[in-house]
């Protein structure tokens, strides 16, 4: 039996849904149709673009969630970090991370990643499930992520390490290089500055292992970005730990914001969470409910990096 036949047979017992199960989806479609024009679901524009890389989707989902305005009241009193401004905080962070050791990754190594993910309302059965912990191994010098011919825009960990290691001092040039690493395509509706800000944050989110001086330059570029804000107090991350939260400010209309969390002692990146900044119900533009509502301060999504480590083999634990 050949490989395709085996693949055909695998999960071939997946059921075809009965008509009743498809009715709610049809009603949503008709609700949109009855408005007489296309209705924009509260969804990212990018999912319609053929072949968007997962990383780019992550950035784009973030765009939809961004928000300015006052932070949710989850704070504890600040300790060491200077939380008076994002600029001050990120400059301070740059100094600290530049002192951290370089792991000197080698080709052939793997990145072990243990993450905790949460999605409020992800399941009707378990709307407030605890963060789900998972492990994965990512090839440091993944050839498929370095194959430019197939149009896959997801960079390898090696490319990100080398990007950090080769960054210049000029924040404008750093922004440009980050945007080249995380292309977002055309017709995004975003300004060039916004695209570059997202690219800086995507680099922060994706890069591991970290080149210390390069990461310091990335932090300085973020410090120079007027679109980056800091929550003026420590927040609790989804695991219950104190964290510094920086976030891109796109104005006051959005209902959530995407926070990038840093360790308050080491300033190392810890993960990201989306937080509702006011009570709201998710709706389609035709006014019908999408069936989910959120309270101010509620974490609607998170992906925390519990452990990251270089290992020598796929499947090896640190």
């Amino acid at each position: 039996m050949d490989d395709m036949t085996k693949l055909h047979e695998w999960r071939a017992d997946a059921p075809t849904p009965d008509r009743a199960r498809l009715v709610p989806g049809r009603q949503k479609l008709l609700g949109a149709a009855q408005q007489g024009s296309a209705r924009k679901v509260r969804l990212d524009w990018r999912v319609t673009a053929a072949g968007g890389a997962a990383t780019v989707i992550t950035i784009a989902v973030m765009v939809a969630m961004l928000v300015g305005g006052g932070g949710p009241e989850r704070g504890v009193q600040p300790a060491g970090p200077d939380l008076t401004s994002a600029t001050a905080l990120l400059r301070q962070a740059a100094e600290v991370v530049s002192q951290q050791p370089d792991l000197h990754p080698r080709d052939g190594q793997w990145v072990y990643l243990k993450t905790a993910q949460c999605r409020s309302g992800a399941s009707d059965a378990a709307p407030d499930a605890k963060p789900e912990v998972s492990e994965e191994w990512v090839q440091y010098d993944s050839p498929v992520r370095e194959d430019d011919k197939d149009g896959d825009t997801e960079p390898s960990q090696r490319r990100l390490y080398r990007l950090l290691a080769s960054l210049p001092d000029d924040p404008a040039e750093i922004r440009k290089q980050a945007a080249d690493m995380f292309p977002m395509g055309k017709d995004t509706g975003l300004t060039r500055e916004q695209v570059e800000t997202f690219a800086l944050l995507a680099t922060l989110d994706e890069a591991y292992p970290v080149h210390p001086q390069g990461m310091a330059k990335l932090y300085r570029a973020l410090a120079a970005d007027p679109g980056i804000e800091v929550v003026p107090h420590l927040v609790k991350d989804p695991m219950g730990h104190d964290a510094i939260a920086i976030y891109p400010d796109l104005g006051s209309k959005a209902v959530q914001r995407r926070e990038y969390l840093l360790d308050p002692d080491t300033f190392q990146y810890q993960g990201t969470q989306s937080v509702a900044v006011r009570d709201y119900e998710e709706k389609y533009e035709d006014g019908s409910s999408a069936g989910r509502s959120y309270k101010k301060g509620e974490v609607t999504f998170c992906e925390m990096k519990m452990t990251q480590s270089l290992v020598d083999r796929d499947g090896e634990k640190p």
């Binding site: 085996k6 997946a14 949109a32 007489g36 296309a38 999912v47 994965e136 997801e154």
Partner: protein, 197 residues
């Protein structure tokens, strides 16, 4: 008012004037899209992604290339992008299957809540190989194997040349064959012809 059009492209075209007729597309294709999502991500995502697929398609129907009679590739392309946003979940489940033999995706539709769906060794090997593929190769492989799209339809779905579909599929199949312990250079065409890849 005459008979409703049988061709998807005509339905889409007519829906620009009569939006509600777009539901005909849903009636034709929602079940298979739903099953495809189920097969990749499991029961919990199938309703939502299917509904979103058709809402996005409806919103973008004015840009549909009416020279393409069947909307299946277009719909699978949209669904594929939505599935792609769950890449970590999909890969995690595949890796777990490769390691433990327990298929949490297949369990999601099993009759009994406590039923364990265990895979054959070859399926474990396949799952490990598919987990290791880049997302775009995985999309091509599963669009061909599970959605029964032709190479051209697959190219239409993903917005890439058909040659790219072939190369991604060949690459994915080499890895599958290697995982299954077969000669990875020997790749039979999906239609049956055998060539060296």
């Amino acid at each position: 008012m005459g008979e409703p059009p049988t061709d998807d492209a005509l339905v889409i075209q007519e829906s620009l004037e009569r939006p509600e007729i777009f539901a005909r597309l849903y009636d034709r294709h929602a079940a298979e899209i739903h099953r495809y999502v189920m097969r990749r991500l499991g029961d919990s995502h199938a309703d939502d992604i299917t509904a979103q697929t058709f809402l996005i398609a409806f919103r973008n129907r004015a840009r549909y290339d009416v020279a393409r009679a069947s909307a299946r590739p277009w719909l699978y392309g949209i669904a594929g992008n939505l599935i792609g946003s769950h890449r970590r979940s999909e890969v995690r489940a595949l890796r777990a299957l490769a390691r433990t033999g327990v298929d949490s995706v297949a369990e999601s539709w099993s009759e009994r809540a406590d039923e364990r769906v265990t895979a054959e060794a070859s399926q474990q090997a396949l799952a490990g190989a598919i987990a290791a593929l880049p997302g775009k190769d995985r999309h091509v492989l599963l669009l061909v194997a599970w959605a029964d799209l032709t190479y051209q339809e697959c190219a239409d779905a993903l917005g890439v040349p058909v040659g790219t579909v072939r190369s991604r599929l060949n690459r994915a199949r080499r890895k599958m064959r290697k995982a299954l312990g077969a000669d990875p250079t020997l790749v039979s065409d999906h239609n049956g012809a055998v060539t060296h890849g």
